[in-house]
Subunit: 357 residues, 4 copies
């Protein structure tokens, strides 16, 4: 059974794209070493408690805020809307949805103009803004690009128990689905949804939630992703590499999942495809297809399925986590009761994790 | 003095992106060897006189049509609009502009639905369509991707004498400028304009026109572009490499210009940047900046400035070419009267072509 | 206790490098599909029962022979010596060692001149030859290089129970050690040994033997290795990817392990380093260092430790396999009794496989 | 007519490889900015007048010495020999050749042991040494590898008027030819000669000499070379890029030529091939083949033919430069009297420089 959602009387705000995330971290120096010294993000500003960061091709003030706090959690995910008027639209739209909401004057978040912040129907803290401070775009500043140079924020991935409900909510907000994972009973395990012309601005991952599964940054080439692994090896921090590098089936992107010092998951991502035409074909994957999450059939590590970050409400209190009641992808694909195939119709599993345990 | 343009009473059609080009070629077998065997484009269909081609991530019927003819020329450039209704809008919009126009029923061009074809105010044959046949998207068909795999059509580049006029025309059609090249007297030498969230769908290059300067395809990585050069070398056709590979200043893209067997120019292009936000900063380059066209300061070969393809009117007759009356970029930057600098303020040229002649 | 070896009265033959391997395969068509259609090796010659293959930068007749047979096994590994006279030296050297030996006139193996074939003291069938037929070197034949182009055979890896004995044998033959894996009790788990100026021509892997652990081919760049994975995914044969891609600690090479249709293991390998100076420093790795086999800390799949190919004697009969009596690397590093660290001194394991099971 | 050379009564020293160069530079800070901040070489040691540098995979004290001086010149090129005894052999060998010679006790050059330094019969200052101080090999220090990481010194290239004489001299010293450029009259324009198993340790370029044409460093991948170009562009020093990047015909290497602040030429180089077998085929190129120096047919810039660095004698005085009397490659291939072809037998030139001037 899927929850239902009221339909506001006005059209939703015109969301352009995912724009920034704020992560609460418990050791700001350790986080700085990870995000600045390893990932190479550019520091737009920093003070004793907060660091505002951007990637090399970004000209808004930040795409990531690290804020010192006692409990590691997601502070907010923010979408940019097309105009200042859309912030007003967002306020009215969410008032009608009846969710917790606050209007935030310009500068409430450094570098960000007038904004509306809500708790969305999935339980996530979400901000909508248009105005933001412009800073230097480092696109051509190759003198400061490292071997693992990151171009821009690409997407958010959120863990939520009820994917069809979450999908309906985001469709109502104007997002479209590019790909999803289902089974023969039409249980939906995950969906990828976009506003900008890439595979996603937000992915919905079925699981206990609301929790942040990960944020993702894009690079131009795979060599930059491979360097990040080499770099972490040289620092003797290879245990920060959780999964990958590999090629996703879904999205066709080349990927790497890292865990920051608080365990927040960060994906580095490249090579997805253009989705901007209205009839962009939706790709539906069978949950039993062993190449859906890794095109090379490399097993997904269990922590990738189980771990995610708490998310805060508007008062900064962690949201309670609700367990998924539908089947879990890890249960139906791995181990005694699970099943995956490399070639549809194969009677043995052909699943490589079996060879590992 | 810049020409003026009537303003239609209705909003323009909602153009999504550049979608396909038709090139008239004089030796179809030679063109097939170039576009299929070297560039690796996928043949959707072919008959005795025509080949319909697409790149690996495209699912519409074609992005390039090669049609046999007596005179090598551009047959048409086509933009996709957001809906079938936008084709009607396009018809009305261009009727009010008073340009030559024909409505083309579905199938007039194989694989393309109902369309409007016009001669635009710059003299180019341009089509607008929405409906098109869907075919297999080869995104993940790595078994047929060669070492130089091409992802999708990226943009058109048109030579036109009066860039400010052309820019006004395209702005009225809803395109925005990402970058341009000017001089201290505000002479505009070129402008890059987009609908999809890349640096351009069409570039306007100041020169004798209307002529097609080039069409461009995108790849994921630079190694794919470098392989095309190696491949042409192995075939002893390195003289098909006209310019590059190199890094553009404008667009920051890594590029290569090839000439097909008829001399039509094809660019292979990767690494440009996201432009989809409404306040995307415009980058204006000084025409004397020697890194504007090549970030590494490699001289532009003269043929790149002088050569371009004829374009046909709706009856298939080559359009007369009008000479540019404004200063030419090659004249103001190269040779006795020209001037370029590597570092602004340098009194010597620092320009590398000087060392070559 | 390590076995001892007689010392011949003459100097050993001057081995240049590892040169070719013959694999017995049970389904020649399936093997051809793997080695030719996926790996892209060049067919020098083929008949109903045998295929002779080479990589793009090789000019000797073959570096891999696939021979149809009933039992999948290694037929021979062959080293090239510096001159025809060295073949005579090899014959005398091995007669004094008292191992099974046969002199093979030119052409006994197609494309190979006069040769000596022995069973070496480790139980492996090994050939020494100098003369060989020259064929076209495809270095610059980019028209036939695929996206996963392979340059040359790089090394053999043999499983043998007693690594110190095997190392002594190969040192006597003039090979030097570049890297090895030991523990605090000086148990040796593996050693890498070379004649040409790379990290190895042969690696000695402690395990039940004599068995062939793998053969390895070199590429120029990592992108070629990544394409092989994408290609196998597209063919729905991702289960042929056993381990990797990743970065080795030992050798610093970027690697991928595949399994051919008979389960023979093939490594694709790039980025190792120059070892040709006489004082090239030996790198000794602690068996408990979790980055020794993968610099990114990715767990070694168990099959990589356990599986290997049978090897034939000179009569084509599989050699009996002797169990390793020293500690096994998999036992001392994984699971209940094993221990690995990412940072020396860490008290918890920091070992990522733990998170997977 | 080719000069003749006495034949010493003893075998030559056993040279392993090219090992280091000393360049005299006029502005040490400017040179440091180039070699350390852009190329990323590692500083082993520096004082007020000298900087000792190495690349990431090197463990000897240095492969490049920058020494402050009044006249930009080559101080010395140094080859490493196989043993300390070979230094004595070198001394006797060159005494018999009757060239200027000095024995240099350990430490005369920081980090280098006992050495012999000579002026070779071509007029170049050349050192032979075995002992050298070992320092940390940064192979796996990815935390300090930049995006343009350089692995090791690869070769020297020397300009000399009489290539056949120079070739005879180096063959007598035990070097072998991998490739050369000749014309139909057997005039030799250049030859590539090696001791280690690559295409060359030294290239002989026909021209006025003795002068140093360039020194070359190797990288693992092309992306590292491309980054150096981007980096120089970002610094507005693109005029330090003289030629390339491109693919050589000779050697098949991917290349880039830079000019340091004194005009010393430095090549960055990758992708050549294994030459270590005794019967490695020699590749002879026709001087009129337009793909010999660039596989993509890109014209060689004239400065690459004309410019080179002075070389010092053992007293630090620049050697007089002797003009080449044989035909010059630039004369026979470019311009009014020259001729080059892309396809042998083509009657028009197909030569792209023609389109540029």
């Amino acid at each position: 059974m899927t929850m239902s959602l009221p339909t506001p009387s006005i059209a939703p705000p015109d969301v352009i794209r995912c724009a920034y995330a704020e992560l609460v971290v418990t050791d700001l120096a350790a986080s700085r070493a990870f995000y600045v010294d390893v990932l190479g993000l550019v520091v737009t500003h920093e003070d004793a408690d907060t660091i505002w960061l951007r990637a090399f091709e970004e000209y808004l003030h930040h795409s990531l805020v690290l804020r010192r706090g006692d409990v590691a959690a997601l502070g907010v995910i923010a979408y940019r809307v097309r105009s200042a008027a859309d912030v007003d639209v967002a306020e009215e739209y969410y008032r009608q949805l009846g969710v917790p909401l606050e209007r935030r004057p310009a500068g409430t978040t450094r570098g960000i103009g007038d904004a509306v912040r809500i708790v969305d129907p999935l339980g996530f803290p979400v901000e909508f803004f248009y105005d933001a401070e412009h800073v230097e775009r480092f696109t051509r500043r190759y003198d400061v690009h490292g071997a693992g140079a990151i171009s821009r924020l690409d997407h958010f991935n959120v863990a939520t128990p009820d994917v069809p409900f979450a999908r309906s909510y985001y469709e109502q907000l104007g997002f479209r689905v590019s790909e999803d994972i289902q089974d023969e009973d039409e249980t939906v395990y995950a969906a990828w949804m976009f506003r900008k012309s890439t595979v996603h601005d937000v992915a919905l991952t079925g699981g206990d939630g609301p929790r942040l599964h990960h944020i993702a940054f894009a690079t131009h080439e795979r060599s930059q992703i491979l360097h990040l692994c080499d770099h972490l090896g040289a620092l003797r921090e290879s245990d920060k590499i959780e999964r990958g590098p590999g090629r996703h089936g879904v999205s066709n992107a080349f990927y790497l999942y890292l865990r920051d010092p608080d365990g927040h998951r960060v994906e580095i991502y490249t090579h997805d495809y253009y989705t901007g035409d209205p009839d962009n074909p939706v790709v539906t994957w069978d949950v039993h297809d062993n190449q859906r999450r890794d095109w090379w059939g490399t097993p997904v590590v269990p922590s990738w399925y189980t771990d995610a970050s708490l998310v805060l409400d508007l008062d900064g209190v962690p949201q309670p986590v609700v367990a998924r009641s539908d089947d879990r992808e890890s249960d139906v694909t791995i181990g005694a009761d699970g099943f995956s195939y490399t070639r549809k119709g194969d009677t043995d599993t052909g699943f490589k994790l079996g060879a590992q345990v």
